[in-house]
Symmetry: C2
Subunit: 140 residues, 2 copies
DNA sequence: TTATTTGCAAACGGTTTGCCGATTA
DNA sequence: TAATCGGCAAACCGTTTGCAAATAA
């Protein structure tokens, strides 16, 4: 599981340097290591990467995530503007707990279908979409 | 139509100064003046406001849109991170043309319903949502 | 070798803030 | 009058970039 990004780099012809491999692994393993709702920002990524190789600079982290994004390997989120988060591009949506900040990932095919229909209706081909739900946990 | 924001300020107990009135009007009238797909960023807002009263500072524009947002009058968007846009909070979604940047507003009750269902499913009350579709215009 | 990548530190750009005089209730 | 607001300029902070050294093809 945790070499997904490296594989995709090879597929897409992205050169794999030592630094990029380390960054790729940190991202790939983030959920396994930190739990399902882990969505580290670039700074946090940099912290984790630093533990493996303290010589990697934050500029390299920024350059690398941007590179991976441009290759379609990662997607960028701005849940809270001013601090970008990147994660593997596997096309799910987010339900965000506005009290705790917890992030739940979900997929819903019905919604997906309707989105396509809306785009069609306006004469567009849907190439991407972003859906974020913000909620408060029910007490029961 | 174009005093909506002022009315809401009164309802919500937001003090209306001269500067705030001008900013409110510029926002209220943006679509009438600049067309349906007008989504000015703060800088552009500042430009338009300056034409009415050149003494209003950009700091005031920032403080005011934030104030209106906190009062629930405006919503903030970060379509392209790094440049916030504010518009009247009337709960529509956006279809964005990735080639031209054109922004189409739409509402779809079916999608809305499904969103609530998803939140429910995870034990949440939906309090807000953000849906952005990115598309390319079909040639036909 | 030739091209690409990295680390460093400085620059950038949108946004916020401290100060203090002006305005408002 | 007491409290809030607004203008200015400086600070802030996430992100990008120019440069020279290091690495890869």
């Amino acid at each position: 599981m945790s070499e997904t990004i490296e594989k995709k780099c090879i597929e897409k012809g992205v050169k794999l340097t030592e630094q990029r491999k380390i960054i790729a692994r940190v991202i790939s393993q983030s959920k396994e290591t930190y739990g399902e709702s882990d969505h580290p920002d670039v700074d946090e990524l940099y912290n984790r990467v630093s533990k493996i190789d303290p010589k990697i600079s934050i500029a390299t982290v920024y350059r690398t995530v941007k590179l991976f994004e441009e290759a379609g390997i990662l997607v960028k989120h701005d849940f809270k503007a001013g601090k970008a988060r990147y994660e593997i591009n596997d096309d799910h949506n987010h339900l965000i707990d506005i009290k705790t900040g917890e992030i739940i990932e979900f997929v819903d095919n019905e919604i997906e279908e309707l989105q396509k229909k809306v785009a069609e209706k306006y004469g567009y081909d849907l190439v991407d979409h972003k859906l974020e739900l913000y909620g408060i946990k029910k007490k029961n």
